[in-house]
Symmetry: C2
Amino acid sequence: MAESFPNGPLAGIRILDLSRVLAGPYATMVLNDLGAEVIKVEQPGRGDIARGNGPFIDGQSSYFMSINRGKRSITLDLSRPEGKDILLELVRKSDVLVENFVPGTMKRLGLDYEAVREHNPGLVYASCSGFGQTGPYAGKPAFDVVVQAMGGIMSVTGEPGGPPVRPGASIGDIMAGMFLCIGVLSALQERSRSGLGQMIDISMLDCQVALQENAFARYFATGEVPGPLGTRHPVFSPFQVFVTRDSHVAVAIAGDQWPLFCAVIDRVDIIDDPRFADGYLRTQNYAELEPILNAAFRSRDTFEWIRGFEEAGISCGPVNRIDQVAVDSQVVARNMFTEVVGPENRKYRVVNSPVQLSRTPASVVRTSPDLGQDTEGVLRDIAGMSPSQIESVRERGVI
Amino acid sequence: MAESFPNGPLAGIRILDLSRVLAGPYATMVLNDLGAEVIKVEQPGRGDIARGNGPFIDGQSSYFMSINRGKRSITLDLSRPEGKDILLELVRKSDVLVENFVPGTMKRLGLDYEAVREHNPGLVYASCSGFGQTGPYAGKPAFDVVVQAMGGIMSVTGEPGGPPVRPGASIGDIMAGMFLCIGVLSALQERSRSGLGQMIDISMLDCQVALQENAFARYFATGEVPGPLGTRHPVFSPFQVFVTRDSHVAVAIAGDQWPLFCAVIDRVDIIDDPRFADGYLRTQNYAELEPILNAAFRSRDTFEWIRGFEEAGISCGPVNRIDQVAVDSQVVARNMFTEVVGPENRKYRVVNSPVQLSRTPASVVRTSPDLGQDTEGVLRDIAGMSPSQIESVRERGVI
């Protein structure tokens, strides 16, 4: 069974995951798909608050299942000395600790990096927060939409002159989760030489800046403040979505494809127009180019445009809805949706790992855990507790 | 000098980078900032076409500099046998090869994974492409906007009922670059046990699906097709941007903060309204909640709202433009902008690595390389070629 023998590249790495909701859990999902063992440490009784996020299938949170499939779950009250002692025993047996509390929380619990490292100098301790562990906003709470707003991406998303728009995915959380993965894996690489762990401090706001390196590069180069452009690219043209006779089509040309593009849209007369001689000029003179292109694209249906551009070797495609992506032949051929088996043998579709490795493939091994379902096994097998010790902490509500 | 002694966690890892434009170069930038040596292999004469992307500062492409700072550059004509032989000699001395040609290109050059692995069984060979190395679209070219369109995110970004909108950053390329980093680092982790490399196959389209796991989870759970929501979140409310008396403010409440939120907006009368009793109901009944909130938010300026919500411990912030982010006190305190020194000792600002490590920090060590500036040194010191051998291939235009 895949469940018993994960063969991903991170097999053998154990992660203690104290994180909740999205940024941390997304990171540990990525690492779990790649073979790492993830022990999700949750508050007794309540657990990760994302367990309460709808919509639900058969009483299961689809939100929670999507990003916690494959993990183990234990309950542990970290505010009590016995809970803290058990966590520290697990720290001694783990490679990585991930947390995304508001900065200061782990210190109040006596579980900040300085305290925890004594128990395992090789531990990679990864913290993710809205604004990072340092700086004037460090103590402020943050959620995705606030970080997206403060990081600038809403100011460059939407229609020119229109209101700010949030990109339709939680990129505030997810970019931070991705950089957290990269930090953890880099620190493990370094540990293989030095034997030492270290602390990683990821700020969601910092990651928004990293995502927008090009907007900052343009601003630093020119002093011009980037604004929203609909579907257009700030540097290249044409590189956007057009309205067709029946819907939309996305088209992007490589540097030398302008004559080909003009041929496909039946406007060879503008190939040598000096206003449109290169990508930079086409962007500068877009106000004059736009009506020409808009008129051309309204003359045919999307499928005709795709056929024409594909024959010319020009990158193009439809603007898909989520239901269309879910059945797209390429996405399906790449096995990007997989199934996990839940209670009563029911199957649920989840998104697969996009990291395809030839020799030690990633895999989604099972559904998300019930709250605390692995407490006893983890306390016995990893923390080395006896049945009576486990019974004792259970009676006192520590687990 | 930082330049001579990179101390990031990936120090000692050598990456041969054949990639161009954005997805691959973004990935190798992230790895380079973390201490890996990146040798950019470029076409003689022309180089990475991104060298021609504006805007320019002092004749330098700001686009290219932003994502290629810190790398080395060599020129090598891979279509000629001597160029291929030199590349294979470098492969023997490297840990990782990254490429983002259209699938099939490396095979035509005789440099596909099967051919290259013979020369270094420990090599991690990472390919990034629009649609991946397999599946019906494998051979098609792809650029960011096309992948964003086909992957569904444009269908959930924008105003309800409005046209599709492209999120204002190249998330088609950048998400793929991030997953490529994670794949490479995971494969290196596995190699530390097995001694063996492997191939990584990243598809930009797959990565769009991975980014949108929540949209697919909701669709699979309910059958309802997600649509655009302006700045709102599909599951939580209030979790969005509001228009204030003078501009905008982003606000997001945690599960139990609804009464606090109502108090700040002076609407304690709706705290116990059964239509708005929890986050799910507030989302379901948003059409009734929206006019109440919109009216409240227009009554004060943004700074007043931020002061009020911060006092209540509710996550909030302004909607910043890029120029405002560039001077934001938190972003500056976190050192997210740094300088590289270019020709004639001129300094250029670039975005820093968001991966903060306590013991082996990331760093940006120098500006982007001139085309082929390191060819001679790399061929001599790494490929072990003599001055006369180097002169010979130079005369024949191989480098």
